[in-house]
């Protein structure tokens, strides 16, 4: 694939359709600047500031604008986990994912096992991630079939009541914002 992709890039560059420096810039952006640390900042702010959480749930695209992110989170929607309700996000048709706040999706998110099973057997998928929810917790799966993008607000773990926003962000994993994981508990944080 390396040679095949290089051939395409060479042709497109020689014809002036793409600028290799622009490609370098895009790659560097997704390797170093845009990733799940952005989503973790959003969730930590939501845990620390109930008014921000209300704005986030009401209109996430506008609320996260307050955080001056590298990319505007167009059509972002935040959905909140509670003791009664667990949210999980999938794109059964392709790989739609909130790039602006989580970066590029992991391979498993784009894989056939996840895309096929998340909508029919979400508890089985959660078990693959080692997550076992109470039998009576409602599970809501959001299939991202349009340009709307979903971000899960995981439940704030106990034992971090006096933590700063920055420390709280260290408890927020990428998977907890997709809904295939839970936030870390304070003892488990890195």
């Amino acid at each position: 694939m390396q040679l095949r992709v290089r051939a395409l890039e060479t042709i497109l560059t020689e014809k002036g359709y793409v600028d290799p420096k622009a490609l370098d810039y895009i790659i560097d952006t997704y390797e170093t600047k845009i990733g799940p640390h952005i989503g973790a900042r959003i969730i930590a702010r939501a845990w620390a500031d109930p008014a921000f959480k209300r704005r986030l749930i009401a209109d996430a695209a506008t609320a996260v604008g307050e955080l001056r992110l590298p990319a505007r989170a167009t059509h972002l929607i935040a959905v909140e986990n509670t003791p009664q309700l667990h949210n999980m996000v999938v794109c059964t048709l392709c790989s739609c994912y909130p790039w602006d706040v989580l970066g590029l999706p992991p391979v498993w998110y784009k894989s056939a096992p996840y895309r096929s099973r998340a909508v029919m057997d979400p508890r089985g998928v959660l078990a693959d991630f080692g997550v076992n929810l109470p039998a009576d917790t409602e599970i809501r799966v959001w299939d991202s079939t349009a340009e709307t993008r979903y971000l899960v607000v995981p439940m704030r773990p106990a034992g971090a009541d006096d933590w700063s926003e920055e420390r709280l962000a260290s408890l927020v994993t990428r998977d907890s914002m997709i809904g295939t994981g839970l936030a870390l508990t304070p003892g488990a944080a890195p």
Binding site: L12, D19, A22, Y25, I27, D100, W142, D143, A146
Partner: protein
């Protein structure tokens, strides 16, 4: 199209296997092809749904047998061929053999920061929304050969409109060369048992984002 990309509810693909500490790209070419898709997309010749449709039209065994970024590579090559940006002989030679076609704009490194954000897909509505939150709807049983975003598992089922998400570009039109044709977009939630039968987990609900032409009153 009823392709293998439409995976919701299929059996046999096995367990989900998360990779610990996964790298953003697993090989340098993956990053190049991701970035090329952005840069070529910026030329403005086709829409994001055209790009999706190009991957859906890969032969089923190719789609299922290719990594994610290999699918992106094959889809991008096909679109570049289809729109006359490159020729088969150029791909074989690995270099340009003909002059470029004129394009409206190209993406430079200086343009990248202000173009990282996706544009809005919201458009002025041609008519008032037909449905409101709380309305019961049934998804239509459609099987178009072209691009659609109504998954097979959610066709012909009753659900409830939860949210009106605005009036968005309609993929079924734009990817099939019929313009943006904006349509109202709704979040429609279904009980798991409505989709998967009485034996399904009663605690599960699944929602899709459905454009108005996918829905009828129930």
């Amino acid at each position: 199209m009823n392709g293998v990309h439409d995976m919701g509810g299929m059996h046999g693909f096995g367990k989900v296997e998360p990779e610990p500490d996964e790298a953003v790209f697993h090989a340098p070419w993956e990053g190049r092809v991701l970035a090329m898709n952005r840069a070529v997309g910026y030329l403005g010749l086709w829409s994001i749904d055209t790009g999706r449709f190009s991957r859906e039209m890969l032969p089923p065994h190719v789609y299922l047998g290719s990594s994610y970024y290999k699918k992106w590579t094959l889809g991008l090559e096909n679109l570049c061929l289809q729109y006359g940006l490159v020729g088969d002989d150029e791909l074989a030679a690995g270099r340009a053999l003909y002059p470029a076609k004129p394009v409206k704009r190209t993406l430079t490194a200086a343009d990248v920061p202000k173009n990282l954000s996706r544009g809005s897909f919201d458009r002025p509505p041609p008519a008032p929304a037909r449905f409101r939150p709380g309305d019961r709807v049934r998804t239509r049983n459609i099987n178009p050969p072209g691009h659609t975003r109504l998954p097979r598992y959610a066709r012909g089922h009753c659900g409830v409109v939860e949210f009106v998400r605005g009036c968005h570009v309609f993929p079924d039109a734009v990817a099939n060369g019929k313009g943006e044709d904006p349509q109202w977009l709704y979040t429609v939630a279904f009980d798991g048992r409505e989709l998967w039968g009485d034996a399904a987990d009663p605690t599960v609900k699944v929602s899709i984002e459905a454009w108005e032409p996918y829905l009828e009153a129930a």
